[in-house]
Amino acid sequence: MRSLLLSGASFALTAAVIANAYYQKKQFYPSVVYITKSNPSMAVIYIQAFVIVILMGKLLRKIFFGQLRAAEMEHLIERSWYAVTETCLAFTVFRDDFSPRFVALFTVLLFLKCFHWMAEDRVDFMERSPVISFVFHLRVLSLLTFLGVLDVYFVNHAYYSTLLKGPTVQLVFGFEYSILLTVVAMTFIKYLLHTVDLQNENPWDNKAVYLLYTELLMGFTRVVLYVCFMVVMIKVHTFPLFAIRPMYLASRSFKKALQDVIMSRRAIRNMNTMYADATPEELASGDNVCIICREEMTQSSKKLPCNHIFHTSCLRSWFQRQQTCPTCRLDVLRMPRPSATPAAAAAATAAAPPIAQANNAPQQLFQNFNGMFGGFPYAWPPVPPAHANGQPGAQPQQGTQQSVPSAGGTTTSANNNTTPAAPGSPPPFPPFSHLCPCFPPPPANLGGLSDSELRSMEGTERANVEARIYWLRDIQALLDGAMMLISQYNQVAATVGMSGIHVPPTGSQTSTAKDTASTKTKPEGPIPETNQAETVTTNTDTLPKVSSSVTSLNSPSSKSLEETLDFSGLEGATGFSGPKEMDLPAWEDPREDEHEDELHEVRRRRLERFSQEGKKKEDFDLD
């Protein structure tokens, strides 16, 4: 109503202006000159032109679309606002050749754009409407031809005018209309697909795929066009600010189309390879309505590993979005192959899952166990599953050999949840002393393990071998640490011995009686002169214990590992060197009894010295 009033007012004004001019000049040419020279009259004429364009637009819309639906109208208004803003931005770029003709061209462009959008919406509506009339087809077809012809004309025009006059504003129109041309092409293809689909009685499975590929192609064309446009505009004019938004949108939709195509391809591939077709018996038994489209399943249905059956096409379009079963949300990609394809299942056994499964139970058991040792960064060898312990046939003499498979088992589990300490870093001290009472590790009774379980624990995959190497490196690091301790100890003991050389060895006889007493009183006993000596006192007390525990901790497993593994193959591995006999510290030698004596000797001497000093001090105090 208001628009009617406004256009009526505009017509009246124009009539008044023309009448006034004609009344004043009496003749046609002078009155035209009068109108063009007078600014107020020109303003009225421009407004009139604008009103006429809008009326034309309305007329065309009536012809091609009839009544617009609410959603279409909303869509149109939203998009036109952006288009108008962009046009205004474009005006700023081309303000030099700003003229009524120029404005008119942009207005035409804007109108054509609106019609393209409406055509798109209409064709999309085809899929949603229950009845498509003959008039609809006629309208859409004529509109698409009309738009296509206009687009081609304008592109041509822009091309030749650019060739003749060099780059002008026609460049912008050329690009705009070629992009609109892609819209027309896209809409037409969609229309064709929908029409073919409507003619068919059965659902057309491949329609979605064709649509996807058309979208991809058109998206690509648009992105290429926009990039070319950008480059050309930056070269000849300035940066085309007004093209940023559509360009961004085009690239985004292209990216989405590409993603869709990839997902769809993956979905189709999975459909074809992973899931079995539902057999007629399965379809016949029970409810055979596809839960996705709520229609009966008669042909081309697929069965998921969770035994839910769907239409192939429904399932495919769902898998494009999510890889779960629509009914139970089972993650179909993570599932082991269905038993329906035994060949695939057999192939899968070679892969990791069985090993992971085999290790799961012991792993969980040990999670708690590890917690007991605080920061101890080494995983214990997993105990065999609980039922193994109940095996009465287990013989105690198996004890030594048990560590072999259990060590192998640890290697497979080590890569799961333990972070081995970096080789060469000093081994953690405190846990040792606090660990000793807990040693040896819980007896691993492997009697109940089946051969296959043992084999899976042993593992020959890269991950297992790597874990084993890590394990061995850790052992080496432990041994190195113990070695360091020992050498430190020896050094200190030597210096202590040197400084105490003036003490006559025979004097020991007097001090031996005090030996035990001084051991007890040592913590609050006399303070040694040197700091070094002090640190040693605190350390050395635990040291023999530590070293012995290290020996017992490592030698059985390392030796047994040495027996099981062929180190020649590992020799070249990064930073790995197999534990060799000569690498072992002297005290770890089987003939370490003499060392044992030596240690005792050192200790005895040290104690002697302390007692000596204590005695001296006592003497001093007495004095």
Binding site: R69, D124, E127, R128, S129, P130, V131, D197, L198, Q199, N200, E201, N202, P203, W204, I291, I292, C293, R294, E295, C314, S317, W318, R321, Q322, T324, P326, T327, R329
Partner: protein
């Protein structure tokens, strides 16, 4: 052979008219657009919303049932899980990708198995038992949690309003 979304919506409409669940009426606003539905939900018995009839609008996407519809109450409804503008915030209407409140598990999200009927039934139970952990209307959630009496008063007022009293 029309689009699968349309066919499914028609099937659901048929189902809803043949076996209407208690306290729920729903159907397309006009027969030539099956993607816009209107629904009337009766306030569940023995709750603060008892006796009210609340109109809502359902908008279906073109790729329904792969994507969930949107639901919006067209009347005023003061409820922790309904935005002040009427949009309904329940997990069944969210795809696993989007999670406005960041705590829903994917198990309760949209899947093609869901239907208009299930959505409306969940909305009814949402009306009965607001979830104040993921509040769409913080004001309402606060009142629900801290000042139940005032919440009930407001709810009673909305019930009256919905009946045109």
């Amino acid at each position: 052979m029309a689009g699968s979304a349309l066919k499914r919506l028609m099937a659901e409409y048929k189902q809803l008219t043949l076996n209407p669940p208690e306290g729920i009426i729903a159907g397309p606003i006009s027969e030539d657009n099956f993607f816009e539905w209107e629904a009337y939900i009766m306030g569940p018995k023995d709750t603060v919303f008892d006796g009210g009839v609340f109109p809502a609008r359902l908008t279906f996407p073109p790729d329904y049932p792969l994507s969930p519809p949107k639901m919006r109450f067209t009347c005023e409804l003061f409820h922790p899980n309904i935005y002040p503008d009427g949009r309904v915030c329940i997990s069944i209407l969210h795809t696993p990708g989007d999670d406005p409140m960041g705590y829903e598990t994917s198990a309760e999200r949209w899947s093609p198995v869901q239907s208009v009927e299930k959505i409306l039934l969940s909305v009814v139970s949402m009306l009965a038992e607001p979830n104040d952990e993921s509040a769409a209307n913080v004001d309402a959630a606060k009142k629900w949690r801290e000042d139940r009496r005032q919440f009930e008063e407001i709810a009673a007022a909305t019930v009256k309003k919905s009946l045109g009293l």
